[in-house]
């Protein structure tokens, strides 16, 4: 039997970048000290707001990883992509969400692996020009329609 822990969360706050419009002291934001302590997805799940982008999953190529059509992916561009990460890359003129497989790097190629037997991995030989667009840190699935 699986258990569900109910935790108190706060969802009302909107995520806003510090707007720059006058001279301010640098380094840490003084506002950080005054934020109250309720759980806040914007604060706790999004570590680098300035580097975070959102994407909508289109299709079922990652369905066996629990990433479904219509899910929202939270993408952080500032984290270094590692072997096995779910990443977003721009391949053949579209953004794609796949596992990053670096295990064949010594053989001169890397692979973007789907999580669905109906799809083939995308092999990338010219790794010089290839860039991971961002690393998927969370996905959000809507259950209550």
């Amino acid at each position: 039997m699986s258990k569900i822990h109910i935790i108190k969360g706060e969802f009302e706050k909107s995520l806003e970048l510090q707007l720059a419009n006058s001279i301010k002291a640098g380094f840490p934001s003084p506002a950080e000290d005054y934020r109250h302590d309720s759980l806040d997805f914007n604060r706790d799940l999004i570590k680098h707001p300035e580097a975070t982008f959102y994407g909508r999953v289109d299709g079922d190529s990652m369905v066996e990883a629990g990433i479904n059509d219509g899910d929202i992916a939270i993408i952080d561009r500032s984290v270094e992509p590692e072997d096995g990460d779910v990443i977003v890359a721009f391949v053949n003129n579209e953004f794609t969400i796949k596992y990053l497989d670096l295990s064949h790097k010594a053989d001169g190629y890397i692979e973007l692996r789907p999580a669905n037997a109906n799809y083939k991995p995308i092999r990338i030989h010219d790794t010089d020009n290839f860039e991971v667009w961002g690393v998927v840190v969370w996905t959000i699935h809507n259950w209550k329609k």
């Binding site: 720059a20 301010k24 002291a25 640098g26 909508r56 977003v88």
Partner: protein, 431 residues
């Protein structure tokens, strides 16, 4: 020590964040109304496409080229550049934003940190996090920092950061630097300087101070001269807060009736109010100007400006739109073909505490307006610009049917990109 962080071909780079396939290809961005070219990628510059080229001439002059064209999308540019500034805020002891794509920093508090390394790392972080390429110039004065950033931009050997840290480097840089590219010189003084045989920044900096004073008698030119010689004299405050905000446009065609003019002016006024609120300031003076088409010598010409001082400084859209409407009515004359109008707000100060004027006694009303504006701003932020607007801001549709359209649709933007950072419907699709 100062640094300037400057986004490379800013608007083009913003478009490329969500179109990585356009990396290395010619890209241009058009002005409001798709009139002319305002931003070019390096590849477009290399093809010989000039800034300001009217869009309709692009296909005529470059018939066999594949050039990606975008309408300007300020919603996207504003959002991405704010992210760049946020990173600068985290990395630098002190910063002040100078324009949409430039940000000055003060680096004295960095002690003996290796500033060249710091700049290169900042470039990498911004490039990685936001996808924006930036160039960084570091020097003892703001004007020299601008010079350095030009070098950082043009020569890949600098790895996006040029640091003028010795007098020898300063001289070397200035000798290679054309006078017309010096910050604060521009077209206005270039012709005169060239007549005196001043062709490089070094020629200018080498002149005696007395010569500069006698030839120009102008404090701006004198300060620029001093800054090129390493004397820090342009105050931070001079650039930090904008002294006035102006929103103006040239119309697609020409306008003769007051109602249509009023719609435009109301929108410019609302835009000014929004900008005031965004920087948490209020204005005490509102001005409106109109003019006819100066290129049409066959038509009667007219231009006029009027301003009024508000009883209480405000950033309320309703108050500023109303003031602008009254001003427009006072300067409008029938029988002319108007080409351009604009709204300027001046006397800008911090938003609070505002002294309620004794003659503008309705404090309760004032608070209500403030609340209303906050709600409108919030709705427009969450659901996209212009979800809620004032009635007087409503435009006729572009085909002229009805009056239920918004500013964004009344201007031409046939090649506008999506807004993946500000609208849920526009977020990128992941296959």
């Amino acid at each position: 020590m100062y640094g300037i962080i400057d986004c490379d071909n800013c608007y083009v780079s913003c478009e490329r964040v969500f179109r990585p396939d356009l990396e290395g290809k010619p890209v241009v961005v058009l002005s409001n109304n798709d009139g002319c070219i305002v931003a070019r990628s390096n590849e477009a510059k290399k093809l010989g496409i000039k800034a300001g080229l009217p869009f309709f001439q692009l296909a005529q002059q470059f018939p066999d080229q594949k050039i990606a064209v975008f309408s300007s999308n300020y919603e996207l540019y504003g959002e991405l550049t704010a992210r760049v500034v946020e990173i600068v805020r985290q990395e630098a002891p002190q910063y002040f934003r100078y324009s949409i794509d430039e940000c000055f920093v003060r680096l004295d508090a960095m002690g003996d940190a290796d500033l060249k390394q710091w700049g290169e790392a900042l470039h990498r972080r911004v490039r990685r996090s936001v996808g924006m390429p930036v160039s960084i110039g570091i020097a003892p004065t703001k004007t020299l920092a601008k010079v350095a950033s030009h070098f950082a931009k043009r020569h890949s050997g600098y790895r996006h950061c040029c640091y003028i840290d010795s007098d020898e480097k300063r001289r070397k840089a200035l000798k290679l630097f054309p006078i017309e590219d010096v910050w604060g010189i521009g077209g206005r003084y270039t012709a005169k300087l060239k007549r005196y045989g001043v062709n490089t920044a070094y020629d200018f900096a080498s002149k005696p101070k007395e010569w500069v004073r006698a030839a120009f008698g102008n404090i701006v030119v004198e300060r620029t001269w001093a800054e090129l010689n390493g004397i820090d004299c342009i105050a931070d405050e001079a650039m930090a807060a904008k002294k006035s905000i102006c929103t103006s446009r040239s119309f697609n065609g020409m306008i003769t009736d007051l109602d249509t003019l009023r719609t435009h002016v109301s929108n410019y006024a609302a835009r000014c109010a929004e900008k005031l609120r965004a920087q948490n300031t209020v204005a005490s003076v509102v001005g409106v100007f109109v003019n006819t088409n100066f290129f049409r010598d066959d038509l009667p010409q007219y231009q006029q400006f009027a301003e009024l001082t508000l009883p209480t400084p405000t950033s309320s859209a309703i108050t500023i739109v109303k003031a602008a409407g009254d001003l427009l009515a006072s300067i409008y004359k029938p029988g002319y073909h108007y080409k351009k109008a604009g709204v300027i707000v001046m006397g800008i100060g911090a938003a609070s505490p505002i002294q309620l004027n004794l003659f503008d006694i309705n404090a309760e009303q004032f608070q209500r307006l403030k609340k209303l504006d906050a709600v409108v701003d919030r709705i427009n932020r969450l659901h996209g610009t212009e979800t809620v607007i004032l009635g007087s801001q409503q435009y006729a549709t572009r085909d002229g049917n009805g009056k239920a359209d918004v500013f964004a649709n009344a201007i031409k933007h046939d090649f506008r990109s999506k807004n993946p950072t500000t609208r849920w419907n526009d977020i990128i699709r992941l296959k």
